[in-house]
């Protein structure tokens, strides 16, 4: 009896394990797999008899002993390593090392300088750009970089019927920076003049052409790699194949990505041999790992830890120049917020300076305009609304709320995505401040910042209720539909250092000079015709000085209207071990790793 039971138990276990193993993939077919099999064979042979030899054999696996490895700790993993189809900074951080665009940004600035192109020159109307390409450059897979490669990449991005413009992929930035796909694209043709010359033909002049060209998303991948791997190009199994200073080695999802120096790099072989990006999601855990020597550098840390790092002789701090703005937006479908004086009262109520000092430390800058100071077009003449709770209370009283504001009125029906009325016009709802459920580089600790803002507001008579609308996708989804009804936190990180990239996305978006700006739910239904028209003029004007004047005027208009409350620009801190030198953080685009050196 007992034995039979045991047999049946055994059979059950066997069946279950078979099912489980059937679910698992067959011996992961990564490119490295074959190499590793060879490695494991050695110790297996020596396993039993020569016990002392076994550990020696594996202790130093055939990885070269004196490999200089730079380990960088970061908060999240990359999404994919094909930059054209992703939008997150963690992906660009890696692709920027293995791929290069035609232009890149100069060290520590947003000025475009040649990279894979030697020079790009416009014709007189600025509707044609002719680019001379660098010669003798090879992709990591050994194929040549030439005009065909550039054209292949641009056509893949642009044409939705291109065989490599895969259905499942979203070429978000091509559409956004070049105004659309196919016929809508502002680049109407990329022509091959000779093997190392291409000509971009534009449908109309585009002021920030070079700045756009230098963006990470428009880096050139090896056409052969894309043809070989198809949809798998950019996934952990394949990685990225470009011309950059480092070539892809491996990607263990959620854990680390490794790249190694590319010996034939046209700019000279990097001084380090490998870079490993390690994912350590928690800010403080990442800092502890740095202190323990597990990693050599990290980005984004708790303010208290930064103070500690500055006091530590083994560590030093670099900052990434701020190309971002955190803000507090009004939803204009609320009657009270349509009153400019109430908006100004909110501006006076917030103690921005203390807030920035407390939550951003020395690395934040209180914001008075949307454009950060490092972007041209920044209007330093604007004077910010001063922190003055009494004045705020007074203004609120003058606007008809002597006892403070705790309930607001819906101005117009609010619909959800399916067209159902979620809030009716005239309905009263509590005054709410929606805070972000996740940390972003512009808001280092959104929940506590929200608590502080709410306390400031309460002291000035705004009896505001905090609300978590849900997790990040929910939050963004509600914001898209204009359903964050109240004040809400969000921010913007610039893509290319051009003011157009900041202002036009939110306040412009016109496709002709006399188009009427419609209130966009995504922006809390804010619409300012004057600003929108000015932004259109700036976008089509090739003269930078004139554009700069327009942007300054736009900033002033937005300030006078208190369109939003600009909170802070964050110069994101990076902490390094003192052993590391030569790292160049970039405000936008990939950092320069090729000059990094590590001493022992």
């Amino acid at each position: 009896m007992n034995r039979r039971i045991l047999y049946s138990l055994g059979a059950l276990v066997l069946i279950m394990s078979m099912i489980l193993s059937a679910c698992a993939p067959k011996a992961t077919p990564t490119p490295e797999a074959t190499e590793e099999v060879v490695v494991t064979e050695a110790p297996v042979e020596t396993e039993a008899p020569v016990a002392t030899e076994a550990p020696v054999a594996t202790e130093a696996p055939p990885v070269e002993p004196e490999l200089k490895t730079f380990i960088f700790g970061r908060g999240g993993d990359s999404v994919q390593l094909d930059p054209a189809i992703v939008t997150d900074g963690e992906s660009f951080r890696v692709t920027g090392q293995c791929l290069e665009p035609l232009y890149q940004y100069d060290h520590g600035s947003t000025v475009p300088v040649p990279a894979l192109a030697e020079v790009c020159e416009p014709n007189e109307e600025a509707t044609e750009w002719t680019c001379k390409l660098r010669q003798g450059v090879k992709f990591h897979d050994g194929t040549d970089f030439n005009a065909d490669a550039v054209i292949f990449n641009f056509e893949r991005w642009r044409f939705t019927d291109n065989p490599y413009h895969f259905e499942s992929q979203v070429f978000e930035y091509y559409e956004y920076m070049w105004f659309g796909f196919d016929d809508a694209s502002v680049i109407t043709a990329v022509e091959k003049i000779d093997d190392f010359t291409v000509k971009f033909v534009l449908s109309s002049p585009l002021a920030p052409f070079l700045a756009n060209l230098a963006m990470d998303m428009f880096a050139i991948s090896s056409p052969t790699a894309i043809q070989t791997y198809g949809e798998d190009y950019g996934t952990p199994a394949v990685g990225c194949v470009g011309t950059g200073p480092f070539k892809f080695v491996e990607w263990v999802e959620g854990d680390h990505i490794t790249v190694e120096a590319y010996d034939e790099y046209w700019g000279g072989r990097p001084k380090i041999d490998r870079i490993i990006w390690r994912v350590i999601p928690d800010d403080s855990a990442r800092y502890l790992a740095l202190k323990a020597g597990d990693i050599h550098a990290l980005e984004q840390a708790v303010v208290e830890d930064l103070a500690d790092a500055e006091a530590d002789p083994n560590l030093y701090v670099l900052t990434r120049p701020a190309l971002n703005t955190a803000y507090l937006a009004f939803n204009y479908r609320i009657v009270e917020f349509q009153d400019r004086n109430i908006r100004e009262a909110v501006a006076h109520a917030l103690n921005k300076v203390a807030l920035v000092e407390n939550f951003y430390g020395a690395y934040g800058q209180p914001a008075k305009t949307f454009l950060p100071p490092m972007v041209w077009g920044y209007n330093d003449a604007i004077e910010d609304y001063a922190y003055d709770p009494d004045l705020a209370r007074q203004m609120l009283a003058d606007a008809g709320f002597p006892d403070g504001l705790s309930e607001v009125t819906i101005a117009e029906d609010i619909l959800d995505a399916d067209g159902n009325v979620v809030y009716q016009a005239g309905q009263k709802i509590p005054l709410t401040l929606y805070y972000m459920p996740v940390t972003r580089f512009y808001y280092p600790s959104p929940k506590e910042i929200a608590e502080a803002m709410a306390a400031d507001l309460a002291n000035a008579g705004f009896n505001v209720q905090l609300e978590l609308a849900g997790d990040w996708p929910t939050y963004l989804g509600l914001r898209r539909e204009g359903r964050l009804l109240g004040l809400y936190m969000l921010g913007w990180g610039g893509d290319n250092g051009d003011p157009d990239n900041f202002l036009n996305y939110f306040f412009g978006g016109l496709s002709s000079a006399d188009e009427v700006k419609e209130p966009d739910p995504r922006e809390g239904f804010y619409a300012n015709q004057e600003v929108a028209s000015l932004l259109y003029q700036a976008a089509v004007n090739p003269n930078q000085a004139e554009r700069e004047a327009i942007y300054k005027q736009v900033e002033l208009l937005l300030h006078d209207d208190v369109a939003r409350i600009w909170i802070a620009h964050n110069n994101t801190p990076l902490i390094f071990s003192a052993k590391v030198t030569g790292y160049i953080p970039q405000p936008v685009g990939a950092d320069y790793y090729e000059f990094v050196e590590i001493s022992d």
Binding site: I5, L6, S8, L9, C23, A24, P25, T28, E36, V39, T40, P43, V44, T46, E47, A54, P55, A57, T58, E59, V63, T69, D77, V79, Q80, T87, D88, S168, V170, E172, Y176, E231, D232, G234, T235, A237, V252, E253, G254, I276, R278, I280, P281, D282, A285, L288, A289, A292, D294, G470, D471, W472, P473, T474, Y475, L476, R480, G491, G493, Y505
Partner: protein, 350 residues
């Protein structure tokens, strides 16, 4: 016996189908979708729509009644749920939305991490909990008993995420003995065979790698082992006490048998049943992945993975991961029941 097992396996089928059904219900009910999660602050409306379409999210969740009203039976069944089921039958868990990695592949990588952590924790819990329980029962009402029982009550009451934080503070921040989180340091290289690093490092003879792995395992293991350990100790004690009151134990004592023999040969065997149940349940809970412990120690297991997937609306991961977890739960329950039948001759199932 075999018939009993088969019957139990059959009753599992509706449970499993119910589980997949519930997972899908939640998918519809939770607002926000992968497209928005993917595109972030920059999302444009058209792209959101397009991604939804490409992922099949614009298909109805369960059945398409509009198509049926047009007389289209095939489209009627062409829903997200039936697509998922048909893939499942082919043992295809799909591809993650955000990274396009086959879910099964990541599962094969992450599940061993959870297994390693869970098994080690369970071993500690069992090897500490059971002896403590036996000694407490044997020396009932002694100081030893009071101390260990109060200790185990505190253990049961412990918020493990807090315990984890306290461990980090003590061992990583103040004493700097152990790493604060992660599974293995970047410099250490262990050939992967089973993906259980302890086992792998041993079979490849990588002794430094073995100890390195242990260093990373130490804190999360202790945090995870606390509650099962306490529960097992308590259960062992009360179960032993019950058995010790039985007549045959009194007889054995009266016969003048050595206490050790009475305890281990007569009492323990019979006191074991409820303990096994508890061990099974606890092992199931640990194998299902400890979201909080994995979060605190940055442990690349399945609990954190599924949690992140819920937040990122990566449906294939949520579906695949939860299904695996549910299967484990159900399977362990079955094993517990079967082990009852094996251990207790009084229970007959046929």
């Amino acid at each position: 016996m075999l018939r009993y097992i088969i019957r139990r396996l059959i009753t599992l089928v509706p449970t499993i189908i119910g589980v997949t059904f519930v997972i899908f219900m939640f998918q519809r009910l939770i607002p926000g979708d992968p497209a928005v999660a993917m595109l972030g602050e920059h999302a444009a409306k058209e792209n959101v729509e397009r991604i939804r379409e490409q992922l099949g999210l614009n298909r109805p969740l369960f059945l398409d009644r509009e198509a049926l009203a047009q007389g289209d039976l095939k489209t009627f069944f062409d829903s997200q749920y039936f697509r998922y089921l048909s893939r499942l039958v082919r043992l295809d868990l799909g591809v993650s939305i955000h990274r396009r990695i086959p879910v099964a592949e990541t599962l094969a990588q992450r599940f061993p991490a959870t297994v390693e952590l869970a098994l080690l924790s369970m071993m500690i819990a069992i090897f500490v909990g059971i002896p403590v329980g036996i000694i407490s029962a044997a020396r009932r009402n002694s100081i030893l008993d009071s101390v260990s029982m109060i200790g185990s009550l505190i253990g049961v009451s412990m918020p493990i995420f807090w315990l984890g934080l306290m461990e980090i503070m003590l061992f990583a921040v103040i004493l700097k003995w152990l790493p604060a989180g992660g599974r293995i340091s970047t410099g250490t290289h262990i050939e992967t065979v089973t993906n259980l690093l302890l086992v792998d490092s041993l079979i490849t003879g990588n002794i430094p790698g073995f100890f390195e792995t242990l260093k990373y395992l130490a804190m999360p293991t202790i945090a995870l082992a606390t509650i099962p350990m306490a529960i097992i100790a308590r259960m062992t004690r009360s179960s032993m006490l019950d058995v010790l009151q039985e007549d045959y134990i009194r007889t054995a004592n009266a016969k003048g048998l050595v206490e050790r023999v009475v305890l281990f040969r007569h009492a323990l065997k019979n006191a074991f049943l409820p303990v096994i149940t508890i061990i099974g349940i606890q092992a199931g809970t640990l194998l299902a992945g400890a979201v909080l412990t994995e979060t605190i120690f940055a442990w690349p297991g399945i609990g954190k993975w599924v949690y992140d997937a819920i937040l990122g609306r990566d449906y294939p991961i949520v579906q695949g991961g939860t299904l695996l977890i549910a299967l484990i739960f159900v399977f362990i329950n079955l094993m517990v029941d079967v082990s009852y039948a094996v251990l207790d001759p009084r229970i007959h199932y046929d």
